[in-house]
């Protein structure tokens, strides 16, 4: 049974949500509307002329097998980034939560990477894995492994995933850590008295209680991996080698800002918007059912 409380009157709620509506309208609805409008045209770069092509831009994109292939690349990339940023974050949060002394120091250190901008993170990781002067690639070379992400697509994907997930671990850590602190001690103590070991308690009590946080982070991380990882990819691989790290959002950039093809770029933003919208609906419809608040 859901409990509903109904307030009377409409102007106070309207007033209270007005700022949010205004912000959404200016920064989301207006640009999104513009993108949809522009996706129906092929303009020249300088805006001197523009031709109405209807759904021609979408036809052009969906008829391109490389564009279709980048959906697959994006799926692999997003899943990997989400997993690689959430699992270590949860592990670290659990560990930090168990600490009695010095947890503040660990917490601070673990949150630090979040302050690093994606493009800078990209350069850092690129430097470590540089095929010529990189520290990590040098050690790998000593171990007999020839690291070459400029030609090996799998290694390039691994590198951009790690670089994208790294800073994100901090963000996720913060949420998991806060959620862990909110788990009632009494429940855990009761389980402990019943003889449940730490990992048993974790799987059966803590993890289910964390599910709202996990679900929230899942949604947020997928959105992150779709939209905000562009800087990392741009600095590390530029979408290469071949097309192995060309995700959808990188293609939006490269068609719009390198190719000056604003029509195609807008059409891609619209497609991306629809994809992420659908994905979020799916998550709320199916995954949220397993979440206990």
């Amino acid at each position: 049974m859901e409990k509903r409380v109904t307030f009377r009157g409409w102007w106070l709620p309207a007033l209270l949500i007005a700022p949010q509506v205004l912000v959404s309208a200016v920064f989301f609805f207006y640009p999104a509307g513009q993108a949809i409008w522009q996706s129906l045209f092929i303009p020249d770069p300088f805006g001197l002329s523009s031709q109405f092509v209807g759904l021609g831009n979408f036809e052009f994109l969906l008829g391109d097998r490389f564009y279709r292939a980048s959906f697959g690349t994006t799926a692999v990339f997003s899943i990997l980034v989400t997993l690689c940023s959430m699992i270590p974050a949860l592990f670290l949060a659990v560990m930090a939560d168990r600490l009695i002394k010095g947890s503040g120091v660990y917490r601070t250190m673990l949150i630090w990477p979040y302050a690093v901008a994606p493009a800078i993170a990209g350069v850092l990781w690129l430097f470590m894995f540089n095929t010529r002067v990189g520290v990590v690639s040098w050690y790998l070379g000593n171990l007999g492994y020839d690291w070459n992400h400029v030609l090996n697509g799998g290694e390039a994907m691994g590198l951009v995933v790690v670089a994208s997930a790294w800073g994100r671990i901090s963000y996720n850590f913060l949420f998991f850590f806060a959620a862990l602190q909110a788990v009632p001690r009494s429940v855990i103590e009761a389980a402990a008295i019943d003889g449940a070991r730490f990992w048993k308690r974790f799987w059966t009590i803590v993890l289910p209680l964390l599910s709202p946080t996990t679900f929230f982070l899942l949604v947020v991380n997928i959105v992150y991996s779709f939209f905000e990882t562009f800087g990392v990819i741009h600095t590390i691989t530029s979408g290469g080698p071949q097309q192995s790290t060309t995700v959808l959002v990188y293609k939006v950039f490269s068609d719009g800002f390198v190719g000056q093809d604003l029509g195609s770029s807008s059409a891609q933003s619209v497609i991306l918007l629809v994809v992420v919208g659908l994905l979020t609906i799916v998550q709320f419809k199916f995954v949220e059912k397993r979440v206990h608040y």
Binding site: I42, P43, D44, P45, F46, G47, L48, S49, Q51, V53, F60, D64, F66, T131, R132, V133, V150, L151, N152, S238, G239, G240, P241, Q242, Q243, S254, D255, F257, V258, G259, Q260, D261, G263, S264
Partner: protein, 436 residues
Amino acid sequence: MKRSLLGALAVSTMLSPVAAMAQTEVQFWHAFTGRLGELVAAQVEEFNASQSDYVVVQSHKGNYSETLNAGIAAFRAGEQPHILMVFEVGTATMMAAGGAVRPAYEVMAQSGGALDQDAYIGAVKGYYTSTEGDMLSLPFNASTPVLWVNRDAMAAAGVDPDTDLSTWQNVDAALTALKAGGEECPLVTAWQSWIHLENFSAYHDVPFATQDNGFAGLDTELALNGEAQVAHLTAMGQWAQDGKFIYTGRRNEGGANFRAGDCALFTESSAGYAGISSEAEFDFDVRPLPYWEGLGNAPQNTIIGGASLWVMEGHEDDEYMGAGAFLNYLSSGDVQAKWHQDTGYLPITGEAGEITRAAGFYEANPGTDIAVIQMTANEPTANSKGLRLGSFDQIRGIIDEELEGIWAGDKTAQEAMDSAKERGDALLRRFEAANR
């Protein structure tokens, strides 16, 4: 153009509140940082000091692509600069934008410059002239690919450093000898599409694209999957598999390897001179770019890379006078000669080359004239005048991807270039549609 006028006013007042009112301001956006940025600033300062009617205000707007983007975005907002630096691959984009640019030759002539278009080096000028033979932008920095040789590395691997490397056949033999002599990086390259496809095609006098490489019309199609190109890329693909050619990345990443002494041979722009001469702790040589003996019409001439200056529409008449005066100053013999000697870029006029020769610069810096000789050896043909393709920055990206397929051994040269043509042509058709 009221809106853009207001915009221009707004920008000029915003950017330099201290400029004297009597002087007309000319905005100049460029893409140079570091040493090159300092040299540009020095040129601007010298021009400003040389007269009192105009003040040129130079601003750095990021790398080549970013500068072009900034210029385009500013034009859409009506706040464009008077002079915009555009790299050579953006040429077709600018030429197609008739309403956004004003031909450089017009502006320069208006300001009293006796513009003699024949004074410019043919292969440099050709890249930026319209089909009617008018120079639409002023070539600013132009370079061409050459072969850099690490003499010490050659000797260490037991290969005679003076061995003839003028043909790829000879280079092939040298690479085998280098590899056998224990060299781990016999050959490395920068700007693979520019050197091994665009210049390769011009040098062997085979088309890179139909319609005279795009000069004759927007309905051009790529022709880079021709026999000559495929033969070269097949050989390079084999070298990559044998460890004789090391791939380091799409841009000039290989420069770091070469300058550190890690590689024996390096195909790179002649403008690499500044960096190599200051960093290399080994004996090096500049050689002409190799060609395949018996393939096409080689050696024809190589083409340029670099940027030119475009004058943008939507400003006041007296501001155009200032822009013209500045461009005339930049193209004068002494300024050009100094620029050529300081940077390693090509002199854009024959006069600048003569001044440099007369000053004894080439004797003091052997090899610095190789690029000039290589570019001017023959009168350019329809295949070696340059390239004029829309969306070319992005097409280069496609070519890079396909080349990586060859180097990784995933594709044959023919498959890769067929695919590059198919994908590139799709972009050319869109560019044609956008500029119809």
